[in-house]
Symmetry: C2
């Protein structure tokens, strides 16, 4: 197939040629014993178990083609699944992807999506895309299933937190929500000029940020964080390989408070966060410029795909982790000893029927 095919539509190229194009020249990871082309793939499960998770991303619900490049969407789809695998204490080894798209989708969009998937799979410990399905649907739908090797260790559950443990995070919180807020503020302009709005975003009247280079840089960082989360896989996996072990762990997909609430409920404990430890001066600077609340981003913003874990108090926190609170007896999650007012995080069916993408409120 020629590079010229990228200007064709999916219908023009056809299912089987597109599948061949997607898989051409790909080298499978060692954990994939049999890749695409048969009724099923065969994955290695060296310790006799596999961690497995699946997530579905729906166009205009979880991503927008006028907000993100196809490659960014592909990376995000893989990253959020890889983060779930790593949050179990497992090493990502492979992914399978079911993809639905309209017949008029440009092949270039599929090229971008799959390039992003392969790139993030490689970043997540050298994992590859072992197979998938390609069907027609009214809008883009991406369902990723991710696999991880527990390497002989017990999975790290949400239910192991105990009173006295330290709560710590690896990775940033709130930056994805900040990026989403910026995109939402730009939406009228984005609708008017399509993808061009992205390059010209800093000039959008809604943003109101003028030309301050410092704010522009923060703004760019927030947009990047929303478009492609960068879960700090190594902070978890290096710690586990070095023998450190959290008592409970999750990735922050729904929001820090919401995900800690899942841990607190599963463990039968309470969590109290220290707002001073959560402070992020750069994010606060951006929030001030945008007239937003940085604490709200940090506590309730979803899709950061950082890792939050509880550690026995005597454990020295591994590199990349910082303490943000304590586990206590009781139930629920508090900040500086008080309940947090307002929404806590993402819920799939809350809000209007056609909300802005990624809006957890």
């Amino acid at each position: 197939m020629g590079a010229d095919d990228s200007t064709a539509t999916v219908r023009e190229l056809g299912e089987f040629a597109l599948i061949a194009r997607i898989n051409a020249g790909r080298a499978q990871a060692p954990g994939v014993l049999l890749g695409p082309g048969d009724d099923a793939a065969v994955l290695a499960a060296p310790d006799g178990r596999l961690a497995v998770t699946t997530d579905m991303l729906v166009q205009n619900r979880h991503f927008r083609l006028d907000w993100s490049a196809p490659e960014e969407i592909g990376r995000k789809a893989i990253a959020q699944n890889a983060a779930d695998v790593v949050a179990m204490g497992a090493v990502p080894t492979a992914f399978v992807v079911a993809l639905g798209c309209p017949g008029e989708t440009p092949v270039a969009v599929i090229d971008g999506l799959t390039a992003g998937m392969w790139a993030e799979g490689a970043r997540a410990c050298g994992a590859s895309i072992a197979g998938g399905d390609l069907v027609r649907s009214p809008e883009l739908v991406i369902a990723v299933t991710a696999f991880g090797d527990l390497a002989g260790r017990a999975p790290v559950l949400r239910s192991g937190a105990r009173a006295g443990d330290v709560v710590a995070v690896a990775g940033r919180s709130g930056w994805s929500a900040a990026g989403l807020d910026i995109l939402l503020a730009e939406t009228p302009a984005a609708r008017r000029v399509g993808r061009g709005a992205r390059a010209a975003g800093g000039d959008a009247p809604e943003a109101g940020l003028g030309t301050a280079p410092r704010i522009d840089a923060l703004r760019t960082a927030a947009l990047a964080a929303h478009r492609v989360p960068r879960p700090p896989y190594a902070a978890v996996l290096d710690a586990l390989r070095a023998g450190a072990r959290p008592t409970a762990m999750a990735d922050t997909s729904d929001g820090l408070l919401a995900d800690l609430a899942h841990i607190a409920e599963a463990s039968g404990v309470a969590v109290d966060l220290d707002s001073a430890a959560l402070a992020d001066p750069a994010l606060a600077e951006l929030a001030t410029a945008l007239e937003r609340d940085a604490a709200q981003w940090i506590l309730t913003g979803g899709e950061d795909h950082a890792f939050v874990a509880t550690w026995q108090a005597e454990t020295e926190l591994p590199p990349g982790w910082r303490a943000i609170g304590r586990v206590t007896a009781g139930s629920g999650v508090t900040v500086d000893g008080a309940g947090h007012a307002g929404p806590r995080g993402w819920e799939s069916f809350s809000g209007a029927e056609s909300p802005p993408v990624g809006d957890p409120r």
Copy 2:
């Protein structure tokens, strides 16, 4: 949660309550070491490998709620994935399901879908639904990933057929396509009166079948075959357990000719089918009554999810298998030595943008 919740919508019940409802009282299969409720499930892989396959079903493309009950759709979604696993020579052990649906979807629809999934998982060798994802989407989208245990055997690939092998099938061909044709003929009535058309289908003027009880019974059988394929899993798995081994195998999802073409291409051989061996008197009787071509249904109809395999000539075919042709040197698939005119089977992006469900033409 009360049974009354079935009259609520998905939005009214909410994501987390619905997930709890879906998983309430479910007993996981032995191959599921950790089920729903954490960042990932953990599956057993007793021989150090897992066969893995994924398929996406999109509403009004792969199923219609006015043609099939939710339980039937759930069964079909699992069956088509379980058939892929079995076609590799693996025993289904678990499934994960990513489900997208509108907020106004009745909880009763989700109840039916999940009941069907669990029922077919149990039929497929006692496998269970180990986890999933639930998101909002404009129409129902179901992405199933299925897992199978190879039980120490090499996977049965599409590429192992050799000249001289016997081609044989386990299960029926063409009945799903016949059911689809009946549904398509009834579509105006179905659109007019919704689900009621199903019970009253025999009276629909389009059907033109009068009240002949024999034809009505065949018609009912075809509709059932289309709504819920019944892959003969045991015909494959019992044969493998007894030490028999096909040289190549696939399930018939795209159509007998199309799926055999995949085997022929992967193996570098030709296949010639014997039309007399493929004849199905009951299906021919139904085709005559409907003024259709039974051979076209049998050769090109998709979604039967029977199994087609090649066996060394000296092998005694195991119970449930019947010979339908021969592998020869060359390439392509012929019937009685001649090429088959017309379309060969399903292709995801062929046809109009909004074709009738399941129509491979």
